[in-house]
Structures are given as structure tokens and as C-alpha cells.
Amino acid sequence: MSKLNPFSALYYMKENKGRTALLIFMMFLGTLMFLAGNYIESQFYTFEKEFEYSDKLVVAGLQSTDEEFKDFAAFAEDVSEDENLEFVYSSALGFSGMQYGSVLNLEVGGWAYVFNSVSDMQKVFNHFGIEGDFSNCKHRSIIISKDFANNKGLELGDVIDHSFDSKLDGEYTVDAIISDGSFCTFYIYEDYDSLGRLYIYSDTMEGEELYDYVRNLAGDKKVQIFASETDTIMPQFSIFYVIFYAVDILIAVVLSVTINSVVTGQYMKRTYEFGVYRALGRSRKDIKKKVAAEIISMNIIACIIGAVLIFLFTYLINELYYHPQGLHLLFLSEMGVIGFVICEALILIPLIISKGIKMSKADVTEF
């Protein structure tokens, strides 16, 4: 006696391994949208720490209209008297963050923090939760993360010259490597002549709350409160989302049409089988459920195979390629999940509905 019910989806799949394997392979292709989404969202991964630090620290600077720096000085006074806020001064010279190669092989520039002294840097690092050995740090030191160093092929003691950024004069040395995972460049530059920026932070506030508090404190003073990294960068990334989802839908439509034509061929050969089921008294609902169960079962197997292969691929490519560069391909991402769901829905829903309706109408009297 067969252990499986002959009317069941599993019975069909067991007895038709070749056809099932072909369909599972085609459905597996749909799961690759999950990998594609992870790949795209990995681009944002390197900005994670940058966004976190930006939420914890507000940068305020001179406005060019504040010709005598009166408003900036008054604002600095207000900040120093406010018991909810801490701050350090920073140079008005806007140093750039070093560029690095991202997951998408794009050259991306990270954020730069410029500290007037090692002690200022350590105050801010304490607030950020960054630890390390800063005993070698001094004027013209650069501090970067291990991941950043790997990405740039830099080591402790390496010298970086001003050709990287025209605002840098002279040479800078990599004097500390930290393990925070960020792609920010931290400079120590002693500049007592043009201290035109404040790095403002708080033990009790961060994010929108901190930014609103500082803006309120600034009031009408001619002080520039820099927007957070999240507000600046994320809108630029929206184009990635749009392109990805548009491509996802396009691929889903192509896959849907291809899979549909293969499945149609397979089900057309079974029209008389379903006609017989109808003649034997199986309801249209039973037929539709059987068709749906067959397609969904194959899809579940395809997704499981896809998940295992994608996990293995991601693990290997991280170990062999991305991690040595300080980068990381995500195992799971929101974009990956949404891309996968959209693709699967566009493939499965029309397939189940169209084949279910078609087979439930199979009529043995017309053979």
C-alpha cells in the first residue's frame, strides 16, 4: 500500500521526479531575488555605524553670514551652560572622509570627524562606545576601523598624504586602528585658529530629539546645524530601492511567463486526468486545492534549496572575498525579503489561479 494518498501533491511529485525537478529549478531562480536584495542592502551596511554616530552627535558650525562670529560664540556659550549637553570644538576646515570600495564595487566616501586633541577625541569616543589604544595618537593622526584598514590595505604607521584631499596639508599617519566596524575617518588636527565647529552630544538624548533640542537652542542665531547623516544620505539611496524593485518586478514577470508556459504544458498533458477526477465526483474546489498544493509544495522545496544554497554562497563569499576587505554581504535583509516576496507572489499567484481554474474545468465528455 502506498504511504501517500494518490490524490496528494506529494504523491504526484514522488512519481514525476523529472517534471518536478524542472519546475523546482525554475522556481529556485525566483529565490535569487532574495540574494539580490541582500546584495543591494549590503551597500548600506557600511553606513550603519555612521548613522549611529550621527544620531549621537550634532555638528554645528559657523555660518558665512556671521561675519564677526558673534552668534557662533553666543551659541557655544549657551551649549556650555546647558547641563543636558556636552561638546568639543573642532576645526572649521572640512576634511573629507577617505573613500573605500563598497560591496557594489562603488567608491564611497565616509564621514570625517576632526578632533582638536586626543582628549577631545577620547571624550567623543567614550560617548560613541569606541575603545582602543590611542597612546600613539597626536596632531595629524588618523584613526580608522580594522574593516576600513583592510578595505584600504592600510596598517598601523602607514602615511597618507594630502593628495587624497586638497584641504589636508602635509602628511597624516594611521596611529590607531579600532574595532567599531565603521567607515568613518577620525582625524586629530590641532587647529586653535579656526575652531569653527562644535561636536555636541548628550547623555540623555539622541536622534531627532537631540537635533530638535540643539536647533531650538540655536534659535535665530546665525549657526549652521548640519543635518544628520541619515537625513542626508538615505534619500540618495532611495534610487537604489526604486531600481531594485523595478528590476525585481521585471524579472518576476519574465520568470512568471516562462514558468507559466512550462507548467501549462505539463498540466495540459494531465487534462484528462483532471477530467476523470471531475467525473469521479471530485469537486472543483478539490481540484483547485490539488493544483495549488502541487505548485506550492514545489515552490517550498525550491525555497528551501534556495535558502541553503544562498546561505552557503553568502558564507563563502564573505569568508573568501568580502571580510578580507572589511566588507560584509548580508545573510538577511529587508530588501531581500521584500524582493523575494514580490517575485514569488508575481510567479505563484497567477500560476495557481490560472491552472486551478483551467484544471477544475476539465471535462471528460470533451475528450
Partner: protein, 230 residues
């Protein structure tokens, strides 16, 4: 069992030349017995069988089965009747090619699967199949064996009526005779309706129904005529 009154099946209703597959057909059938429906190709025999078995709805008229009007039933009710009361044997066996003989029989069954397998084995044995053939697929069985598996499938739920549409058309004489013998045996306690254009297979029918051009041309009991003759 069946009361068929003024049943017509009209195709191309909107055209000037309507096609009558059945034309004002009337017939009454008992609860048991072997009924042969015979006529030339295009006489409406299969259409009549499809209407009686709820596979098609007639355009006009009424078909009463066991006191129940079939033409007004919903699709769900018709499916229930086919599942619980009727069995089908088709001209081509229409066995599912990827299922074994046993699974082809039990896929039509209702109830506990162990019981179905027991019954299926019983019917297949009764129909002359050996145990080692139960797990063979239709491609490994002969035409006659396939048709016998189809009969077992039709009988698995002990239906009150079996409809057999040209059940011997693709069989040699010996297998055709064997199949008719099985159906005859079943008809001792149930109604079996055989549709065919081959008079030679209907030698043992209890009621003969002759059709022509969608109409009943004659109906008689061949056995009682033979008794009268004898």
C-alpha cells in the same frame, strides 16, 4: 431508478440550424439490471449517458434519479451524487499513467485508505489481476487489464449505478466478453448502463434501448423475448 422525460440537448442554440443531440427523449429504467444503449455514431447515446450521470445538463426536460430531479441540482450536489452514487467506465480506460493499478482504483475511493486498499485488492483479484500486477503502472499492463482496473475503479465505492461508455471498444473479443461478464455480474444488484454501437457485446442485457437521431427508436427486454421464443 431513472425517469427521463422529454429531455433534449441542443447545441448552437442561437443559430438558425440548431443541432439536437437529444430530441425529446423519454425513458424509464429500473433499480437493477444491465441496460444496453445502442445506436449508430451520432445518435446521442453518449450525450444521454452524460446527462443521466450529471456530467452535462440537458437543455430541456427532466431527469429524475431515485426521486430526485437532477437537472435543477447545484454543481456541488451533482458532484456529491457522482462521488457517492455513480461509477464510470470510459472507452479509453483513462487511468492515471503515473499511478499504480491499485492507486488508480483507490484514488476514486471514499473512506479509510486501509479499507479502500483491501477492497481494491478484492476487486482487482475478482477482475482477474494477479497480486504482482497491483503495483504496475498502466504502461506495463495490457489493454484488457487496464480496462479491468478501470472497472475496479468504477466499483470501488459500490455505486448504485455504473455508466460504461463503449467499455469494450478498444478490446479484443476475449477481453470484451470478460468485461461484459463482470458488468453483468455487478448488475445483479445494481444498475449498469452500457453505451455502445456494437450489438454483439449486448447479448446478455436485460433492457435494450435503441436510439436514432437523438430519439428513442425502440426499447425492449431481449431476455424476455428469448424466453418467449423458447
Amino acid at each position: 431508478m431513472f425517469e427521463i422525460k422529454n429531455v433534449s440537448m441542443i447545441y448552437d442554440m442561437n443559430s438558425d440550424e440548431k443541432l439536437y443531440a437529444l430530441n425529446g427523449f423519454n425513458l424509464t429504467l429500473p433499480d437493477t439490471g444491465l441496460v444496453g444503449i445502442i445506436g449508430p455514431s451520432g445518435s446521442g447515446k453518449s450525450t444521454l449517458m452524460y446527462c443521466m450521470s450529471t456530467l452535462k445538463r440537458p437543455t430541456e426536460g427532466s431527469i429524475v434519479y431515485d426521486g430526485q430531479e437532477l437537472t435543477g441540482l447545484s454543481n456541488k450536489q451533482r458532484e456529491n451524487i457522482r462521488r457517492n452514487e455513480f461509477g464510470f467506465v470510459f472507452q479509453k480506460h483513462y487511468l492515471v499513467p503515473y499511478m499504480t493499478a491499485m492507486d488508480n482504483v483507490t484514488v476514486a475511493g471514499i473512506g479509510d485508505r486501509k479499507e479502500l486498499y483491501k477492497k481494491g485488492a478484492e476487486y482487482l483479484s475478482l477482475l482477474g489481476l494477479k497480486k504482482r500486477e497491483f503495483n504496475k503502472r498502466p504502461s506495463k499492463l495490457s489493454g484488457g487489464q487496464c480496462q479491468r482496473v478501470a472497472i475496479a475503479r468504477a466499483m470501488i465505492n459500490n455505486p448504485r449505478v455504473i455508466f460504461a461508455d463503449e467499455p469494450t471498444a478498444s478490446l479484443d473479443h476475449e477481453n470484451a466478453f470478460r468485461v461484459m461478464k463482470i458488468l453483468k455480474k455487478y448488475s445483479e444488484e445494481r444498475l449498469v448502463i452500457v453505451v455502445t454501437h456494437d450489438r454483439s457485446v449486448l447479448s446478455d442485457v436485460d433492457i435494450m434501448v435503441e436510439m436514432w437521431d437523438g430519439k428513442l427508436s425502440n426499447t425492449y427486454m431481449p431476455m424476455s423475448e428469448r424466453e418467449n421464443y423458447e
